[in-house]
C-alpha cells in the first residue's frame, strides 16, 4: 500500500484520542485513507485545515510526532478473477501467504443500484432444510439474517446453506470471528472441494474491532465485481453483524455523538441498510444474495441491532432449541422470508402456500395447548392431537438436520395432517384438499 507518488506527509499531531488523531493539513479529501505511524486510518471530519482521522487499529503508543501519510484515495480493493479462492484481512491484503491480487482498483462502499434497474428476484435457493425451504423459502437477490443466541450453531448452518446453494461464488465476510470458527469455515469449504469459488475477508477476535467496519464493504465490492461485471450468482455470508454494529457504536462514541437506543449510533439503520441493500437481482442475470448472522442476547429481538436489522432485511431465520424434542429448529413463528411469495406455488408445488400456513397455524394451536397443560388444565382431544402433531412436525420438518427436497416436505406435511386432523380442522381451500387429501 505504500510507495505511491505525490503522497502528502505530515509529522505534527494536534490531538490524540483512543480512536482518532487530528492534524493540520491542506487539500485533504473526505474519507481519504492515510497511515498514522504505519497504521491505517481514514478521514472522518474536516474543520478548516484541521483533519480528524479514525485509526482503525487504535491509537495506543502513537506519539505527537508520528508520521502521517495521506494516500489521496478512499479505501479500495483490487478486483479480478484472481480473488477466487483467496483469504484477505479487513484491508484487502492477503493473509494466505499468496501474492497481492492484480486487477482494477475499486473504491469500496460504492454507489447503490438504481432501483428502477433492479429485477424482481425469482429464483429459489434450495437448502434442504424444511424450516427454510418449506416455511421461509430463500430467493436469489434476497438479504436475510439468522437471528440466534450465541450458543446456537449458526455458523455451521450458514456453511451448510452456502455449500448446498447453487451459486457461482461464495464470499465470506467474517467480523470478530473466533480463530476456531475461521478455521472451521476454511476446513468445511476445503473438504467440500469448493475453495476455488470462495473468497474470504476475515477479521478475527484477535484483531482490533474497528477494522471490522471495512469487512462488509470489502466483501460486497468483490461481490459486485462478480455479479455486475461477470454476471455471476454470488452468495455473501456476513458473520457476525452484531459485532459490526458494536464497532460502529465504539466509533460514534469516540466521535462524541449522542447515542440513541441501546447506546447505538442514531445512524445505525442507515449504516446497516447500506450493507444489506447491496443484495440485488441484476437485469443481466447476476445476483448478490446476503445471508448474515445477528447474534441475540437471550433471544431479545427488540434490541436495537436485531430490531433495525429486521426492518432492513427481507425476513429473518430464527434459530432456537425446541425443548420438547431437543432439536435445533428454525422457529416458524419468529422466522419469515419476505420474498417467499415470489417462488412458492410458482417454482414449487401449488399446495405449498396452503400447507405452510395450515401447519404453522396448527403448530400455534399446539403452543396454546401447551400453555394450558402447563397451567394444569385438562386438554381436549384436539389439544392432545395438536401436541402430538407439534412433536412430529418439529422432528420431521423443522429440525435443521433434515435434508429433503420441497416436494418431499409437502408430502410429509400432508401425511402429518392426515394422521392427526380432520379436513375441516385444516381450513384449506377445497380444490387443494380434493387433490392432496388422500381418501382412505
Amino acid at each position: 500500500m505504500a510507495g505511491r507518488a505525490f503522497q502528502k506527509i505530515y509529522t505534527q499531531l494536534e490531538a490524540i484520542t483512543k480512536a482518532t488523531i487530528s492534524i493540520k493539513a491542506k487539500g485533504i479529501a473526505n474519507e481519504e485513507l492515510a497511515t498514522v505511524a504505519g497504521r491505517l486510518a481514514q478521514v472522518v471530519k474536516i474543520k478548516g485545515d484541521m483533519i480528524t482521522l479514525q485509526v482503525f487499529s487504535g491509537t495506543e503508543g502513537i506519539a505527537t510526532n508520528a508520521e502521517v501519510v495521506f494516500f489521496g484515495e478512499p479505501p479500495a480493493l483490487n478486483v479480478s478473477e484472481d480473488l477466487s479462492g483467496r483469504f484477505f484481512n479487513a484491508y484487502g491484503q492477503p493473509i494466505d501467504n499468496g501474492p497481492e491480487v492484480e486487477g482494477e482498483r475499486r473504491y469500496i462502499g460504492g454507489p447503490s443500484v438504481n432501483p428502477f434497474r433492479r429485477k424482481q428476484p425469482s429464483e429459489l435457493i434450495p437448502t434442504g432444510i424444511a424450516g427454510i425451504d418449506l416455511n421461509n423459502t430463500l430467493v436469489s437477490g434476497q438479504k436475510i439474517p439468522f437471528f440466534a443466541d450465541p450458543d446456537q450453531p449458526y455458523n455451521q448452518v450458514m456453511a451448510m446453506v452456502a455449500l448446498r446453494a447453487d451459486v457461482d461464488k461464495i464470499i465470506l465476510g467474517g467480523m470478530g470471528l473466533s480463530n476456531d470458527d475461521y478455521l472451521f469455515f476454511k476446513q468445511t469449504f476445503e473438504n467440500a472441494g469448493k475453495l476455488s469459488k470462495i473468497i474470504s475477508f476475515v477479521n478475527t477476535t484477535e484483531q482490533p474491532p474497528v477494522e471490522r467496519l471495512l469487512i462488509p464493504d470489502m466483501a460486497l465490492t468483490a461481490a459486485e465485481y462478480f455479479a455486475v461485471d461477470k454476471n455471476e450468482k454470488v452468495l455473501v455470508l456476513l458473520t457476525d453483524m452484531t459485532l459490526y454494529a458494536d464497532a460502529l457504536s465504539i466509533v460514534s462514541n469516540r466521535m462524541d455523538q449522542i447515542p440513541s437506543k441501546d447506546s447505538m449510533p442514531g445512524s445505525l439503520y442507515s449504516d446497516l441498510a447500506k450493507i444489506y441493500e447491496k443484495a440485488v437481482q441484476l437485469p443481466d442475470g447476476g445476483s448478490i444474495t446476503i445471508i448474515a448472522v445477528t447474534t441475540l442476547s437471550g433471544g431479545d429481538i427488540t434490541h436495537a441491532i436485531p430490531d433495525n436489522t429486521g426492518y432492513i432485511t427481507e425476513g429473518q431465520l430464527f434459530l432456537r432449541t425446541d425443548s420438547d424434542t431437543g432439536k435445533v429448529i428454525v422457529d416458524p413463528f419468529r422466522s419469515l422470508s419476505r420474498l417467499k411469495q415470489l417462488v412458492i406455488g410458482i417454482k414449487t408445488r401449488e399446495d405449498h402456500n396452503y400447507v405452510m400456513n395450515a401447519a404453522v397455524r396448527l403448530y400455534a394451536d399446539a403452543a396454546n395447548a401447551k400453555t394450558k397443560l402447563e397451567n394444569g388444565f385438562d386438554l381436549s382431544d384436539y389439544d392432545m392431537r395438536c401436541l402430538e402433531f407439534a412433536k412430529a412436525y418439529s422432528t420431521k420438518l423443522l429440525a435443521i438436520d433434515v435434508n429433503i427436497n420441497t416436494t418431499e416436505m409437502l408430502d410429509t406435511a400432508w401425511e402429518l395432517f392426515q394422521k392427526y386432523y380432520t379436513p375441516t380442522e385444516l381450513g384449506i381451500k377445497e380444490s387443494i384438499m380434493n387433490k392432496y387429501w388422500k381418501k382412505a
Binding site: E277, H303, F333, S380
Partner: protein, 583 residues
C-alpha cells in the same frame, strides 16, 4: 448575481460553507467536487457560515471546494407527465438515468420537455383568474390533467390570450395573463413549487364527509378511512405493514396514487415496478401503473434525500388535488424520515429530545399530516389528499416518539400486532386497539347510511363489542380452563373467532379474497352478524368449537369464491343447512 461560497468543514453529509453574500434558510446550493455537482440544502446559518446537508455522498470533498447558491428552496416540477413516472426523493426521473448504478451528481429532468400533449382550453380571453384556476386541460393517460395558473401568483389576473386546442409541449406558452398593473405574464404547462411549503390555493378545507373504500375489510368495515383523511399503520417488522399498504394502493378508490417509498427496501419498490404495469384497476379497467407515481428513496440512497422524498410526494399530491382529483398518498415509512432528521440534528450538535430525536419532531409530523385533506376548490369542485403513513416503532414499542407524535396527528390508527402476525392472522391489524375517529363524525355516519345500509354503523359497533367480549372470554378460559367456564364463554369466544376469520382476516395473495368491494363486505358482514345473534345450544364446549369451526370453514370457502357465483351460492346453501342444524 448568485451567492457563492467555499467549503470549510465536512462531517459526513453535513458541510459548512463560508459564503460571500446572502443565503436563505432551506436554499439549495450545488457544491462542485472536481466537476461533479452535489446538491445540498441550507439548514442553519451562523454569521458567514452556512451549514448545508448534502443530498449525496461527500466522499472526496475538500475544503476550498466551491459552492453556488441557487436562490430558491428545493422545488418540485409540476406538469403533465408526472403520473406513472418513477422518481427519486429529489424528483430525478430514475427511468432516464444511465447505467445500473446511481452515480453521484447524475440529475435527470422530472418531465419530458419534448413530449406533445393534446391541449384543450377551458378559460376564455377576458376571464378573471387567480392561482390554481384552470386554464386548460390535457389528457394524461385517461385522467383530465388541468393546466392551472401557477400557485405562486398572488393577486388576480385577466386572461389576455389562450392557446387554441392543439398539441403543445410543457415549455410552450399556452396563455398570457395580465395583472392589475397591466404587466403580462406567459404561462406554460409546467410550474415549480417549493416542496416544504403547502399549496393552499383553494377555497376552504371542510371536515371529511365521505369514506374512501380500500377493499381491505378490517379497514372499510371496522375502521373506515375518510376521503381526505389521515391514518397511520405502526407495527413491528414482519407484521405486514408493506403488504397492507400495497393492498391499499392496488384497490383503493382513488384517481391518483402516490407512493413514497421512504428509506425502505428496494425490492419492495421493484415489486411495484414489476406488478403494477400488469395489474388492472377493477374500477376503471386501466393499468394500475397509469394512476400511480412512485417517489422512491430506498434505505441505501442518501439519507438527507429521504426527508425530501415525503415532501416531494405531498406536493405532487396537492397538485393533483387542485385539479379536483382524489389522491391517495402512501408513505412507507415515516419513521425512516424521522431518523433522517435525527441523524442531521445529531451532527449539528443540537440538544436531543426523547430517544435522541430532534425536539421539534412532533411539530414536523403534525405539520406534514395537516397538508392532507379534502378541499373545496375556488371553482366549486372538490379534491382530496388522503394520507396513510406507516411507522416502524423501534422494538415494536408503540410508546416511542415517532408513534406517539403521529398518534396525535392522524385520525385513524391501524395497530399491527405481533401476536396476530405470529399466528399468521393477516392483515395483523388489531381489532381492539385500532380505531377510526371518522366513525364518530356525524357526516361520515350519514355517508355510510347512504352508501351501505341504514343500520350499518350500529352493526359495526355490535361487531366490535363481540370481538371485545370474545377476547375477555378467551382470557377467562385460559385462566379457568375449558371446563371451568360456562358454555356461554366458549360461545362468546367462537363468535369473535367467526368475525376474525371471516371479516378481519383476508388473504392478500388470493385473487378473489384480496379485494372486497363494499357491497360484498356488507353481505358477508351482515351474514356473520346474523349468525352471531343466534345463541345456539351445545352440550359441551367441544361441540361448540366443532360447530363454529364448521361454519368458519364454509364461510372461508365463500371468501375464496367469486361473489354470488355458482360456488359461492353452493357454499351459502351449505351454510344455511349447517345453521338450521344448529339448535
Amino acid at each position: 448575481m448568485k451567492t457563492t461560497g467555499k467549503v470549510t468543514g465536512i462531517i459526513s453529509n453535513l458541510v459548512t460553507i463560508e459564503v460571500d453574500g446572502p443565503v436563505a434558510q432551506n436554499e439549495i446550493c450545488y457544491i462542485s467536487l472536481s466537476g461533479t455537482k452535489l446538491i445540498a440544502e441550507v439548514i442553519k446559518v451562523t454569521g458567514k457560515e452556512a451549514f448545508v446537508q448534502v443530498y449525496e455522498s461527500t466522499r472526496g470533498l475538500k475544503t476550498g471546494d466551491i459552492a453556488e447558491f441557487e436562490g430558491h428552496m428545493l422545488e418540485v416540477t409540476l406538469g403533465p407527465g408526472i403520473l406513472s413516472s418513477n422518481y427519486d426523493g429529489l424528483q430525478n426521473n430514475l427511468e432516464t438515468m444511465d447505467g445500473v448504478f446511481l452515480r453521484r451528481g447524475d440529475y435527470t429532468l422530472p418531465l419530458d420537455l419534448e413530449k406533445k400533449w393534446e391541449f384543450e382550453p377551458i378559460a376564455k380571453v377576458g376571464d378573471e383568474v387567480m392561482a390554481a384556476d384552470w386554464l386548460g386541460e390535457v389528457k394524461e393517460g385517461w385522467l383530465p390533467h388541468k393546466i392551472m395558473v401557477p400557485f405562486s401568483l398572488k393577486s388576480s389576473y385577466i386572461v389576455k390570450s389562450i392557446a387554441a386546442a392543439g398539441e403543445y409541449n410543457v415549455t410552450e406558452k399556452i396563455a398570457t395573463i395580465t395583472d392589475e398593473n397591466g404587466v403580462d405574464m406567459d404561462i406554460t404547462m409546467m410550474q415549480k413549487w417549493p416542496a416544504k411549503v403547502a399549496i393552499t390555493s383553494y377555497h376552504d378545507k371542510p371536515r371529511p364527509f365521505k369514506i374512501m373504500e380500500t377493499g381491505v375489510r378490517c379497514i372499510d368495515t371496522f375502521n373506515p378511512i375518510a376521503e381526505g383523511g389521515t391514518g397511520f399503520i405502526p407495527g413491528p417488522f414482519g407484521c405486514g405493514k408493506t403488504v397492507l399498504q400495497h393492498a391499499i394502493s392496488k384497490q383503493a378508490e382513488a384517481d391518483v396514487i402516490i407512493i413514497a417509498a421512504c428509506g425502505e427496501r428496494a425490492n419492495e419498490v421493484v415489486e411495484i415496478f414489476t406488478e403494477f404495469p400488469e395489474l388492472i384497476d377493477a374500477r376503471t379497467g386501466r393499468k394500475l401503473m397509469e394512476r400511480t407515481t412512485i417517489i422512491c428513496n430506498t434505505s441505501n440512497m442518501p439519507v438527507a434525500a429521504r426527508e425530501a422524498s415525503v415532501y416531494t410526494a405531498m406536493t405532487i399530491g396537492e397538485y393533483y388535488r387542485a385539479m379536483g382529483l382524489k389522491v391517495l398518498l402512501l408513505a412507507d415509512s415515516t419513521s425512516r424520515w424521522a431518523q433522517a432528521l435525527r441523524e442531521m440534528s445529531n451532527r449539528m450538535e443540537e440538544l436531543p429530545g426523547a430517544d435522541a430525536f430532534p425536539m421539534d419532531l412532533p411539530a414536523i409530523i403534525s405539520n406534514f399530516y395537516a397538508r392532507a385533506g379534502l378541499v373545496n376548490l375556488n371553482n366549486g369542485n372538490t379534491g382530496s389528499v388522503t394520507f396513510i403513513g406507516t411507522v416502524s416503532p423501534a422494538g415494536g414499542n408503540l410508546k416511542e416518539p415517532v408513534t406517539e407524535s403521529t398518534k396525535k396527528a392522524a385520525r385513524c390508527f391501524y395497530a399491527l400486532s405481533q401476536s396476530r402476525a405470529d399466528r399468521k392472522r393477516y392483515p395483523a391489524v388489531d381489532p381492539i386497539d385500532s380505531y377510526s375517529k371518522y366513525l364518530e363524525y356525524p357526516e361520515i355516519v350519514e355517508d355510510l347510511k347512504k352508501r351501505v345500509s341504514a343500520d350499518w354503523v350500529e352493526k359495526v359497533l355490535k361487531g366490535k363489542t363481540i370481538v371485545l367480549r370474545g377476547k375477555e372470554a378467551y382470557e377467562q378460559i385460559n385462566i379457568l380452563g375449558d371446563d371451568g367456564v360456562p358454555i356461554e364463554y366458549h360461545r362468546k369466544f367462537w363468535k369473535s373467532e367467526l368475525i376474525d376469520f371471516i371479516i378481519l382476516q383476508q388473504d392478500a395473495y388470493d385473487k378473489v379474497d384480496s379485494s372486497t368491494p363494499m357491497v360484498r363486505q356488507e353481505f358477508m358482514y351482515s351474514l356473520v352478524i346474523d349468525v352471531c345473534e343466534k345463541d345456539f345450544e351445545f352440550d359441551n364446549f367441544e361441540e361448540c368449537a366443532t360447530f363454529y369451526k364448521g361454519l368458519i370453514n364454509i364461510m372461508r370457502q365463500m371468501n375464496y369464491s367469486e361473489f354470488k357465483g355458482e360456488n359461492f351460492n353452493k357454499y351459502l346453501e351449505q351454510l344455511n343447512k349447517e345453521i338450521n342444524n344448529g339448535r
